[in-house]
């Protein structure tokens, strides 16, 4: 440096700057600072060697450890899968009756199913699984496609009216919009269907008889002559007073006028077989508990 002046009191060099006779000391950088600068530099050198670091135009130095976030998470998932394999394998392969008789497996179901249900099913079916307008209740013992294990498993796998190639499909025609039924006819058949589940209607016996005729000609092919529904095609039972879209006049009129087409997503690919089995057992038990 060009300035070599020394401060007589401290013995330090000055910077050469002077303001009204006051000079600025050029004190040494504290040793601790040098020490930590040295440590960070050494750390950087070690890191360059061990970890992915330097770009080399079309590639980069991979580092001796070969560390990679993606590999790490894949390993973690594999390890977690292996750790859970004892019970996920059983859930995925055993028949439901065997799972039910194994308290250890049922404890796993009780542990995992509520979280799975909350994250995947509750958005539509509700946290209490009681459904809501447009989303069927899972606790009322009325099943559109059947409530046995195999059927629920299949419904979970392929969904209903979903983009899955094997999806179940079910569609109620728009009887009013397509001109099959007139508005008075729809009102008549609404009254008749309401009477089937014991709802009070204003219709007299003659109107109900007319409704029965309209029902037999238009609705019975799917819902059955006795209106008990058909689980092969997902046609609901109309006599049990459980309603997906509502059993009041307005809701039923809309249903018959514009038709309905529910949509349940397919869960294959999103949930594993074991997870779907846990959910199946969970919702079966949920229905049984609340049905009592």
């Amino acid at each position: 440096m060009s300035v070599k002046e020394r401060d007589p009191l401290t013995g330090h060099q000055t910077t050469g700057h002077e303001w009204n006779g006051i000079t600025e000391l050029n004190t040494r950088v504290p040793r601790a600072v040098w020490f930590f600068i040295a440590v960070t530099h050494i750390w950087a050198l070690v890191y360059w060697v061990l970890m992915p670091a330097w770009p080399l135009v079309t590639t980069y130095t991979k580092g001796l450890l070969g560390y990679d976030d993606r590999t790490r998470v894949e390993r973690q998932l594999m390890a977690a899968n292996a750790q859970r394999a004892d019970w996920t394998q059983a859930l995925a392969t055993l028949p439901a009756e065997d799972i039910r008789q194994d308290p250890a497996l049922m404890a796993r179901v009780a542990q995992t199913a509520p979280a799975l249900f909350g994250d995947n099913c509750a958005a539509c079916h509700g946290t209490n699984a009681a459904g809501g307008p447009g989303f069927p209740s899972l606790v009322d013992d009325a099943w559109l496609w059947g409530g046995d294990t195999a059927t629920i498993m299949e419904t979970l796998r392929v969904g209903i009216n979903a983009p899955h190639p094997d999806s179940r499909s079910s569609q109620m025609l728009a009887f009013g919009e397509t001109g099959i039924l007139t508005r008075p006819q729809i009102r008549t058949v609404v009254n008749y269907v309401q009477s089937l589940s014991g709802r009070e209607t204003q219709a007299d016996a003659q109107q109900l008889a007319e409704g029965a005729t309209i029902f037999a000609e238009n609705c019975a092919s799917c819902h059955g002559e006795n209106a008990m529904g058909n689980q092969d095609i997902g046609a609901p039972n109309l006599t049990d007073d459980f309603w997906i879209y509502g059993g009041d006049d307005a809701a039923m009129f809309t249903t018959i006028d514009l038709g309905r087409q529910g949509w349940m997503p397919a869960w294959e690919g999103r949930l594993t077989t074991a997870e779907r089995m846990a959910l199946t057992i969970y919702i079966q038990d949920l229905g049984a508990e609340q049905g009592k």
Binding site: L77, A80, N81, A123, P163, W263, A266
Partner: protein
């Protein structure tokens, strides 16, 4: 010990101090030096990503956003959905457990701007496509608490009554092409018509959408209203394709598969 350790570098330190001393006395030289030092990080960490081959994975089955989905994406940005929802499943075990395969760079290579986000007041949406029905999405957007009582999401019911503006779609697609999204001339020219056709499967404009964007394209009345094309159609069409532009993630990440 310290002195011996740093001893060999004494000349470097001396040179550094002298240069610095001189630079301090020339403002332009100092400004230039600061600029140089500050850009080192960018040159070493960011610039090489453009030349390194595996920055963006090869995804041959990657498809484009249709004009309707792109319009929905613009609404998603306009309404600030990204402020509460990320679109980035991180390489963390709990993220993958909950949301599915971690996000790949290729999956957002046609996203301008990207919407990865860093804050999750609501859940991540990177793979929400087809997880819920159109009907659920519409009703949830209109009144989130009707379906999820504990939700704090705002209501977007007005989207159902707001007609979708499609006039500007060709221009928007052309702008995306300028930054590298491979839209064809036909796709740009028919953008407004295709946006209508995708949400009106019974109309005569629907066929062109499949011709130009592939048979896999979702052709549906997204908002449940067959009388008009609304912003709700666009937003739901966009939400339903999230995570569905390519199968690459599911194919290359076996750990989350069937077991």
């Amino acid at each position: 010990m310290f002195r011996t350790l740093l001893g060999p570098f004494a000349r470097f330190f001396e040179f550094h101090a002298k240069t610095h001393y001189r630079a301090e006395r020339h403002s332009m030289a100092l400004a230039g030096g600061i600029l140089l030092a500050a850009s080192i990080g960018g040159f070493i960490e960011i610039a090489p990503l453009f030349t390194i081959d595996d920055t963006v994975e090869a995804a041959p089955d990657m498809r484009l956003y249709t004009p309707l989905e792109q319009a929905g994406r613009d609404i998603y940005i306009r309404e600030g959905c990204y402020a509460c929802h990320s679109q980035m499943i991180r390489t963390l075990q709990d993220d993958v457990d909950r949301y599915g395969p971690y996000s790949l760079a290729a999956e957002s290579k046609y996203d301008h701007p990207m919407l990865w986000g860093s804050k999750r007041t609501g859940p991540d949406l990177a793979r929400v496509g087809e997880k819920y029905s159109d009907d659920w999405q519409v009703r949830h957007l209109a009144d989130p608490r009707a379906l999820v009582p504990e939700s704090v999401m705002p209501q977007y019911a007005f989207l159902l009554d707001t007609p979708l503006e499609t006039e500007s779609l060709p221009g928007r697609l052309a702008a995306l092409r300028a930054v590298g999204v491979p839209y064809s001339d036909a796709q740009i020219a028919n953008a407004a018509s295709d946006a209508f056709g995708q949400a009106m499967p019974d109309s005569d404009r629907a066929g062109g959408v499949l011709d130009r964007y592939g048979e896999e394209t979702n052709l549906r009345i997204f908002d449940g209203r067959r009388d008009r094309l609304t912003e709700m159609d666009a937003l739901v069409a966009y939400l339903q394709i999230l995570g569905g532009l390519t199968d690459l993630a599911a194919r290359t990440q076996p750990a989350r598969g069937e077991n």
